[in-house]
Symmetry: none
Subunit: 410 residues, 2 copies
């Protein structure tokens, strides 16, 4: 069974909001074993909505439409579905009552415009409103269409209560399970070289890559009747990939290197602190991201000026005057300064040149990160590329990964 | 001229990421007068990519394709464009050289797979790689197709350097100009009350709101033959709105409160430092965001643990034991500690409860921010709502805005 998600709304085409509804629905449909083949976004234009829905109903088993169910004149999803299915709009008396009672509960008079929300294509089944907009489901020439509001919480509630239960039953219990092996310190090409034969020979699970911010995510996706069978298909292949990639892979079930470091610190009852130059607070933000981070994250010294590297983080004047603020020595001193100032077990340091221009004769993209744990300090030199934000993201990932390796090797 | 944005990548259809690329491109195309009529997302499947591109090239003047340009076997955008345009793939020797030189600069050998990134449909013009993936442009039966990588920073760079300049010229004279009045400290409803009559009576410029992270952006959009005429339409209306909103509006041409604070500091030759608890580095990251931030941003003390608030930022024990770490007094002491430790003119402090649970008996969403300048310290209490990230974003915006007001009033 395959599905298509159609977002209706000019605000999406103007770039005012991202189509996070499609992301949420895709994730939910994968969980009940439905493959999503297309997302389409179309504006509040009846001809183009009709054209889009016609194609969607022809090529997809299930179409989920979000948006265009409000009371204003630019809300025309109902009209478009009526046109494409050839069913006239009919006012549903139960929905009229439901909408009236919502307004009376809010203590407000119902504007006449809202009555059009009770109009459904003939033969459609209403989905009760969560806010003030009802949704509906309708079958057309073997395809099944659900129309739900674009307001995210209303959409999510209808999805959970109506759409997913029906699709789970129709999909007949099938499930898609996904696991990722997150690789740091090897590029996408080098990772592929190590596992190319596995990628070429697999069909279930499938293997795909996603690269970004210094990590390569190797994603294994398996289909099976139930989740444990799907995971059983994934497990041996995941083990083989982990064997080949070795220390470059984050621990199993990690979602990011920051989360992996946090989990390892929590298991060990250990703490972490940072001292950052070019990352300017991003390292701290990443360490704090997980709920409950206060158990292990003590803080971070953001030392953007050279003087503050000396006065706040305790980088020796001899380092600043000699190898310089962008150097292996400075990175190590930052990591050690962080551990000392906060009394942390693990100290992480970042320094480098985010650009736009070189610094101390070091080119843009020069990054040094350091980690110190139990008296042992390691430094890594990374030659990063891309814009300022990308260089910073690589620096954060590299510093966290160095800390992860020290923890793992301890 | 109308455009369609095609995102290629199974990770989008699985809901692993949102299609923020389409949002960015849509916003950018609106700025050069190009109407976007459709977004489509399709997976790493050649038949479906080809089907999608065929429809797009038939109905749209411009097609921007993102993703599928990497070196691995699931990157098949090149092959799909070759099929739909009927042009065979040809290896571009200049691109081979460019890709080789990228790897040699990185000090890494080039894996053989990467060579396929130098293959372009015959007749296509290469777009030089920003990371390691080249893009390309090709014309087909009156339509113009740009293929750019899915990695956001690479996509954004190619869009700015190649796609937008060509489309701006092709769009021929018509321009959409946009200016924003950014309002902080009033809600969307209160802002609307102040300017409702202006909103109701305007057609060109149009006025729209976008609210988020503690700011309301009042966006004025005018269409005219050239930019100066469009700006001439915007200016008197913008002035009227600024008069009504008063001190709550950021200075003209600001893009964010962080950027506004940076500009004011630079004009005054002044410096800033932070001390942050619940924002964990986000305040520093925001202060460092502008290019050249090193001229005024000295650093930030991220003090997540209570002990570090005392030991690192110098919050008095009496404050921690009395009013507590989440209090007006703690926020003031953090701001003053930041200014003192870094020797900064402006000191900013944040403390609060991001959740998931209450702290010191203060409910989730309690935020105190402080700013100190020239011996004068101000504190603001914000009752924030939403999830952890939203509460943090509100705290950063509020702290920066308090600093902005002190600078403006000085």
């Amino acid at each position: 069974m395959n599905a298509e998600i159609v977002g209706v709304g000019t605000e999406l085409l103007l770039g005012q909001i991202a189509n996070t509804n499609a992301q949420h629905i895709s994730d939910a449909l994968a969980g009940v074993g439905v493959d999503v083949y297309f997302h389409v976004v179309v504006g509040d234009n009846q001809r183009r909505i009709v054209e889009t829905l016609r194609v969607a109903l022809e090529r997809s088993d299930v179409v989920v439409v979000t948006g265009g169910l409000g009371p204003t004149p630019d809300d025309i999803t109902r009209e478009a579905v009526a046109e494409v299915t050839g069913k006239p709009l009919v006012r549903d008396p139960d929905l009229v009552g439901a909408i009236e009672s919502i307004f009376s509960k809010l203590g407000r008079g119902m504007p006449a415009e809202n009555l059009k929300q009770a109009d459904l294509p003939d033969g459609a089944t209403p989905i009760p409103p969560e806010g003030t907009a009802p949704g509906f489901r309708i079958e057309h020439e073997g395809a099944l269409l659900f129309a739900v509001p674009g307001v995210p919480w209303e959409m999510k509630a209808m999805l959970a209560k109506v759409v997913l239960p029906e699709l789970r039953e129709r999909a007949g219990g099938g499930t898609i399970a996904t696991r990722e092996v997150i690789v740091i310190g090897l590029g996408e090409s080098r990772t592929h070289e190590l596992i190319a034969d596995l990628v070429d020979s697999q069909t279930n699970p499938t293997i795909a890559y996603r690269a970004g911010s210094g990590a390569v995510r190797v994603r294994l996706t398996a289909k099976a009747q139930d989740e444990s069978t799907a995971l059983g298909l994934i497990r041996p292949l995941e083990d083989e990939i982990r064997d080949r990639v070795g220390i470059h892979a984050l621990p199993r079930d990690s979602v990011s290197v920051g989360e992996a470091v946090g989990k390892m610190l929590r298991e060990r009852g250990a703490t972490v602190a940072g001292a950052e130059s070019l990352t300017g607070g991003w390292l701290g933000a990443e360490l704090m991201a997980a709920s409950g981070a206060g158990d292990y994250f003590l803080g971070s010294l953001v030392c953007y000026s050279s003087q503050s590297k000396r006065d706040v983080a305790g980088v020796p004047e001899a380092v600043l005057a000699g190898p310089g603020a962008v150097s292996e020595e400075a990175a190590a001193a930052l990591a050690e300064g962080a551990a000392r100032r906060f009394g942390a077990d693990l100290g992480l340091g970042t320094t480098g040149v985010a650009g736009p221009s070189e610094q101390e004769g070091k080119p843009v993209g020069t990054v040094f990160v350091a980690a110190t744990l139990g008296g042992r300090t390691q430094v890594r030199h990374v030659q990063a590329y891309g814009d300022r934000d990308h260089i910073r993201a690589l620096a954060v990932t590299s510093a966290l990964d160095l800390g992860r390796r020290l923890l793992q090797e301890q």
